[in-house]
Symmetry: C2
Subunit: 114 residues, 2 copies
C-alpha cells in the first residue's frame, strides 16, 4: 500500500543510500519521527526525507556526531517555525534576523551552564 509523498523504510533507504537500521537508530535517537501505519510500518514524509538528507550530510561531510546533529536540527526547527510564522505577517519577506535570533537562543540554552 503506497501513498503520494510517503515512503516505507526500504524506499527511503534506497533513495538516500542509508542502511535501514541506521534510519531506525536515528528515530530511536529522536532525530526523525516518521508516522506509522496500523501495522506499525514506518511512513516517511517528504519532510522526513529532507531531514534525513541533512543528517547524512552533517554526519558524512561534516563529521558531526548525533549530539551535534541534534543541535543543528533544533536550530533548523526554530528557523522553520519562525519562517512559517512570518508567512502570515505583512510584507516582511524574510525574517532572517528573527531566524538568527532563534539560533542564538538555541546556542545560549546550551551555554547556560557556562
Amino acid at each position: 500500500m503506497e501513498f503520494e509523498g510517503v515512503y516505507v523504510i526500504s524506499v527511503v533507504s534506497r533513495m538516500l543510500e542509508m542502511h535501514p537500521q541506521t534510519l531506525r537508530k536515528y528515530e530511536r535517537a529522536g532525530l526523525v519521527r516518521p508516522s506509522r501505519t496500523d501495522g506499525m510500518l514506518r511512513l516517511y514524509s517528504e519532510e522526513d526525507v529532507r531531514r534525513l538528507r541533512l543528517i547524512k550530510h552533517l554526519v558524512e561531510d561534516f563529521g558531526l556526531n548525533l549530539a551535534g546533529v541534534e543541535l543543528v536540527l533544533r536550530m533548523r526547527d526554530g528557523i522553520q517555525t519562525l519562517r512559517s510564522r512570518a508567512a502570515h505577517a505583512p510584507g516582511d519577506e524574510i525574517t532572517i534576523e528573527q531566524a538568527l535570533d532563534e539560533l542564538l537562543l538555541t546556542l545560549e540554552q546550551h551555554e547556560e551552564g557556562l
Copy 2:
C-alpha cells in the same frame, strides 16, 4: 616566569581539570591557538581559557565531538566579531539580530551542498 592573565599548560590543566594532552590535542585540532614563548612553551590567555571552558562544557555536558565543537566555536567567533563591531556603533546596545545573522551564515555554509 609568569605574567598576568597568561598561563602555562599545567596551570590551565589544573584550573579546568583537563589533561595537558587533551589541551594539546585541541590545539592540534585547531580549536585553540595559545601563543608561545621563545622556548616554545604554550601561553594561554584569559580568552583561551574561556574558550577551553566552553569546549569542555560542550563535550562533557552536551556530548558534541570535536567537529561539533568547531561548528559552535565558529558561530561564537562570528558573534564576538559582531559585538565588538557594534561597540563602536551609536546606541545599539545589543546586536542580537546581527549575531543571529552570523549564526545562520555559519549554518548555511555547512548546508551549502544540500
